[in-house]
């Protein structure tokens, strides 16, 4: 489709390990519009990071295996192109920022060297041009005295500054998609607020599409236009951000929102706790993965995984139950 910069169809990623097969991503489909921010939210092990690593082909195969799927970037399937072509896409077209900037930066190379490398490799700049651009990038992400800081090593940067440097690197080649994998999880709230503001400003300036992966429903409310909720390797709900918070339609999303303490309200009751824990991904999925923890579960849920069902305009939920009437869908 013309207005989809990225379209993922029926992606399945598994890991073959000694204990068996980990069913990490179980046939998910989604799309991204240019210049928009989409959030992917879910708890540890829900497959949100593995999905993005699969899209960028950053998983080592084996143990990983992409069992099926298409990743269409401007209509071209990234799962079919050569590794060389993929290298060009990574960094130049689609860039990724990771959770822990200390482990994703090389500790023995200066920030300047790490920042100039993509500029030389992908943009064909010489050393002088790359340096000038690197200074500009650091300035753009709000690092004071950028010319001087180019010679610093990652450990000389604070946590927030390292994440800014990572973002500068991701932006180096002006990608059309930025995938941010929990970029603020390791940071304090005041620093998180700085980074959120930075990414939003850059997205507007460069009209870049952003996929923001997080477990934090507060951050999602702040940054996203559209949201995918993942659970145990499935997308269980997809909605525009306002609809998701005002009118959640999947029992998991409903429970998750009710389990959150609120900073903006007086305490009125205990937190709702979701019993049990997410399913073991080593077991072949059968039925709805949330069935064992769901209040509205009935027979069909345990045997058949519901597809994403249209529940409103731009709103889909994978549930056999209509949560507005508490009646099964037919």
């Amino acid at each position: 489709m013309a207005d989809h910069i990225l379209e993922v169809n029926d992606l399945r990623t598994r890991f073959r390990i000694a204990e068996g097969t980990v069913h990490a991503v179980n046939g998910i489909s989604f799309w991204l519009e240019p210049g928009k921010t989409m959030a992917v939210v879910g708890e540890s092990g829900c497959g949100k990071s593995v999905t993005m690593l699969s899209v960028l082909r950053l998983l080592s195969i084996p143990p990983a295996e992409i069992a099926s799927g298409q990743v269409l970037y401007h209509g071209r399937d990234l799962l079919q192109i050569t590794e060389r072509e993929m290298e060009h896409v990574r960094g130049k077209e689609i860039a990724m920022v990771f959770q822990d900037p200390m482990t994703s930066l090389n500790p023995v190379l200066t920030i300047g060297r790490q920042l100039c490398e993509p500029l030389r490799v992908h943009m064909g700049m010489d050393n002088r041009q790359a340096r000038a651009r690197a200074i500009e990038l650091l300035d753009q992400v709000g690092i004071p005295d950028p010319a001087h800081r180019l010679g610093d090593y990652p450990h000389q940067f604070s946590g927030g500054q390292r994440q800014r440097a990572m973002i500068a690197m991701a932006l180096a080649c002006v990608p059309s998609i930025l995938i941010a994998d929990e970029p603020t999880t390791a940071l304090d709230v005041t620093i998180q607020a700085q980074i959120v503001e930075l990414v939003q400003r850059i997205r507007e300036n460069l009209s870049m599409a952003v996929i923001w992966i997080t477990h934090d429903l507060g951050v999602v409310a702040e940054i996203a236009e559209r949201v995918l909720v993942m659970y145990a390797g499935y997308i269980v709900e997809e909605a525009l951000v306002d609809d998701l918070y005002e009118d959640p339609r999947h029992p998991y999303t409903i429970a998750l929102l009710a389990a959150l303490p609120r900073i903006d309200r007086r305490r009125d009751k205990r937190l709702l706790s979701i019993p049990g824990a997410p399913p073991n991904l080593l077991v072949e999925p059968k039925g709805c993965p949330f069935a064992a923890r769901c209040e509205l579960v009935f027979d069909r849920c345990r045997v058949e995984m519901p597809p994403l069902i249209q529940v409103g305009p731009n709103h889909q939920a994978a549930c056999w139950m209509d949560v507005t009437s508490n009646k099964p869908r037919v």
Partner: protein
């Protein structure tokens, strides 16, 4: 817990009294001739009381000294200056035996349920350790029965008594940590970020468990956390730390609805609200820069280099710790 804070009778002694507590760590330099070149002033003069049955929240960003404060209060680090009294017992300057007796009554739950449980010990050994150390139950059978009871109390199946920590999920491990802390029947528990390593759906389980236990055993908590939403939910009063000092302390709704210190205001405004409409309507205070080093903290008010309402004297004069209204304390010249 209800929304109203417990109002202690004036004659009631607080269970925990902290007075001008300081904890400095020496900074050494040189390989052969090591010498002290300065100190990290991790906690630099904090004071508060905690009433019996109360939950006091201690919040702040990484490096503000909240964890060090919690550990120093329990005597896990030697006190540099000031005093801590728990149930009338002075924590500093007491013998090993006295400290051990105190530890029976004052326990801790750690942040990381992966690192804080010995991987080679069974659940039975972990939960039973305080019973052994404090010689509370002499014979193995009685001890095992007590471990059984504790496991039921925290919602773990006693069938798992001989399992090892790696066989449990994060939430279950934290339940093991809670059971271990409860084993010696304490009055006071320092909860050092007990839920921040857990997923949202599991956090609520552990928080509700801790509240039930508090009600059941009249426990007193010092709840150390950086999650300001959770702190509002479970604490009665909240103290905000910045760079080793407490800048504001108040009853929870007062603090969240009427924050007076500019740092508290910025901190609260930075917390994302899980409501997109409110989130868009909100005015945020974005603080410039990072938290400065606690080795050479800024002069005067420690927050002055980042403060949006800083005045000339803020860099020179340390603000006084004042009670602005009943129970609402703040250290700022401009309030």
């Amino acid at each position: 817990m209800t929304d109203a804070p417990p109002t202690p009778s004036p004659e009631a002694q607080p269970l925990v009294q902290v007075r001008d507590l300081k904890k400095y760590f020496p900074v050494r330099q040189g390989l052969v001739f090591e010498r002290e070149v300065g100190s990290v002033k991790a906690v630099d003069g904090i004071s508060f009381d905690i009433q019996r049955g109360e939950t006091l929240g201690l919040v702040g960003e990484s490096g503000c000294g909240k964890t060090t404060a919690g550990r120093t209060i329990l005597g896990l680090y030697p006190i540099t200056a000031g005093s801590v009294t728990i149930s009338g017992i002075q924590v500093g300057g007491i013998s090993r035996e006295e400290l051990q007796a105190l530890r029976r009554k004052a326990q801790i739950i750690f942040q990381d349920p992966y690192a804080s449980l010995n991987p080679r010990w069974t659940v039975s050994a972990i939960i039973g350790e305080p019973l052994r150390v404090h010689k509370l139950l002499a014979d193995d059978k009685a001890r095992r029965e007590r471990v059984h009871e504790l496991m039921l109390l925290v919602g773990l199946s006693p069938r798992l008594i001989n399992r090892f920590p790696h066989e449990f999920s994060g939430g279950q491990r934290q339940r093991i940590g809670v059971a271990r802390a409860l084993a010696s029947d304490p009055d006071f528990i320092v909860c050092d970020e007990p839920i921040s390593a857990l997923d949202v759906s599991i956090q609520a389980q552990v928080v509700n468990l801790m509240e039930d236990l508090q009600d059941g055993f009249n426990l007193t908590f010092l709840f150390i956390a950086h999650d300001l939403s959770m702190v509002r939910h479970i604490c009665d009063r909240v103290a905000v730390m910045y760079l080793g000092v407490i800048v504001e302390l108040a009853e929870r709704n007062e603090l969240y609805e009427n924050p007076l210190h500019p740092y508290t205001q910025a901190l609260l405004s930075a917390v994302p609200i899980p409501d997109p409409k409110k989130s868009r309507a909100r005015q945020r205070i974005i603080l410039p820069g990072d938290v400065p080093s606690p080795i050479n903290p800024p002069s005067g008010c420690r927050f002055h280099p980042r403060c949006p309402i800083v005045k000339a004297h803020c860099a020179k004069v340390t603000p006084e710790w004042r009670e602005i209204s009943a129970g609402h304390w703040v250290a700022c010249h401009e309030v």
